[in-house]
Amino acid sequence: MVDDSKRHRTNRRTYIKGVAGAAGIAAFAGCTGGDGGSQETSTTESGGTTEKTTASKTTTTKSGGSSGSLKFGFTSYVRGGSWITAYVEAAKFYAQDQGIQLDVRPNRQSSTKQIQDIRDFANKGYDGIMVGVWQTGAAESAINYAMDQGVPVMSTNADTSSSKIPLYVGFSNYSGGKTSGEQMVKALKEQYPNKDSYHVLNVRGIQGNQSANQRSQGFLDVMKKHDNITVDKTINGKYAQDVAQNKTQQYINANGTPDGIYSGNLSMGLGVHGALKNLGKLHKKGEDGHIVLTQMDGSPQVNPLVGQGFIDAAVDQPNYFYNPIAMKYLKMYVEAGGVDGGGDSVIPKPDTTVTKDQFSISSGQHKGIEMWSKQIWSPAPIKTQNGHPWLQTNSIVITQENYDKPYLWGNVWGNK
């Protein structure tokens, strides 16, 4: 027996699939032309076959009228702060561009609220759900419930433990730490070309926290590969600016100045900057006495410091791409048949790599810039995590060459 809501969803998806198919044929026939451009063609590698999908600003779903437009639910942490604002607002902008109805619900820092919303999205027959998971394990049952109801769920930024979801879109903390380590090695050699050996400090996040561990380990693994670099000490900065500042200034005052310092997040990076300032040891890149600083995360506060030469490199996330990527895959997934049909055929397979030539997010005018015009998330290797594919977005290294570019979220959302 199929319950009414499921039948309703199936009919709705069949309709969407039909409209998408018709529009696809029209597109191949060169008849779309609705908005006079901005057509986007993407290719997705799928199990050895190459599938071509077409989307444009006047999307197929839009042309089908309101009954044919997709309706997605999105639950996430949404409170304050420019990072999270960029992450959430980009989803709204992209949905608006694509004619997708998006219902954004704040989780109010509660996994219970998030679970209720996921179940509600599923029960109300939404076409897909995106989840910025609040607590990895907590949302699993609700996500499985939605998938069982035939409503596809994709996680972004923070992953779920559910193996049922078709895709997770996010950044790798370990890779970010590794990139920061590589930037440290490069900057040390540039700053001190005549030195034979280097001493560095690792300021890490909360002990036991998964992202803090991965960010620290990625950095340390790069350092281990270089016999001439010694990590003098790992300081627990607890992801807090005041803690990192206090501990770093005391350490440097007691033990002397290292050649470089790596910080595991933006707050601790600013703390290290403050510590060096207090100790009178803050010098610009290339100047005598400059201590090489690399860190995770850019931000409205960090980017100018990179530009001024105080911070050598910051490894940033393409956070405003996470939801658009997931939304586009969700749309393709639904149009290809969804959970009960051939939805999985559009999802890239593990151990492949998705590049901007194969898949891209159409740019659009938002906040005074052409948003998504540079596909900084690419290339993205497809890994497996918690039994489902993970589109591991690329990180972007902020340096003096690009610190003021509009494709860095901190330069767009921080200036609001």
Binding site: R79, G80, Y251
Partner: protein, 336 residues
Amino acid sequence: MSTQQGALDRLLADTDNLLLTLLENMIWPILLLVIIAIFIAVPQTLSTFNSIQLILWGGVPIGLLVLAESICLLSGHFDLSIGAIAGLSGMLTGMVVGTCPACWGVSHNAFVGFGLIVLIGLAIGVFNGYMVGVVGINPFLQTLSFLIIVQGARTALNTQPATGLPSLYIFPGSKPKVAIGIMLVAFVLFGLVMRYTRFGQAVYATGSDERSAREVGISTSRVIIAVYAISGVLSAIAGLMITGFTGIVPPLIGDGLVFQAFAGAVIGGISLFGGRGKVTGALGGVILIQVIQSALNNSTVIGATQIQMINGIVLFVAILLYSTQESIRSRILAST
């Protein structure tokens, strides 16, 4: 013979008094021993005047919170919301006087900031005190709920740093000597108040036995409101000091400080059950914690992963000493 007996009794009484005084001030010899140990094991920690200054400067916010908690404990109550009050008052004021994109920028006047931050702390403190002292809500439940409410309010306001603060507003926390001076003045001031004023004696009396205090004419509800008000104001000043220390309002301001504040007060000899302990002892507790933290942080032998465990051991030793002190004290008092 009777003269000899009297002399012996007086000697024993003097010895007991000496022992009791020693027990009450036990933090100072312990601090001395720890400092000697640090000089041997991690000498770079205290090698220069600047090292000592940096340790004390970093300890200013927690010092003020220890003082806030100590006064609450002395009254037989406690306040779990002190760190959260520091956070909310700091963030809210930062939003008002800051010029960051997320800030409201209502005024860029430092004195508006000083007044507002103290007012926020005072308001929350008075409300806590009223609910505990007058309405009769359990202090644990009242201050726990306010820890959650106030911390949530801070997060709701902003999760990014509040920047662009007036330079005069950050001045007290940004200058080591000024910040340390403020902390020391606060300890001396409250040390004198607690020892020499009627209010101080009323706090001790309320903490020792609230009913007896009421019976001798002390308005215990007023004392409790005043104690929480002081706690709120000191917590807000701690928020101001953190702001000055970093030059901005960090998004996690005040997080995780309440347990350190409890530890500092207890290590400093403040009784968890109220009515006993000295504010100056609490200062010793703050210094001890900061010196140990600094030594662990500065040691190149001890890793970040081991520090938390060692911190736990230090706290455990402090609790053991506290228990021993209590039992010795009880024995001495029982024998007199």
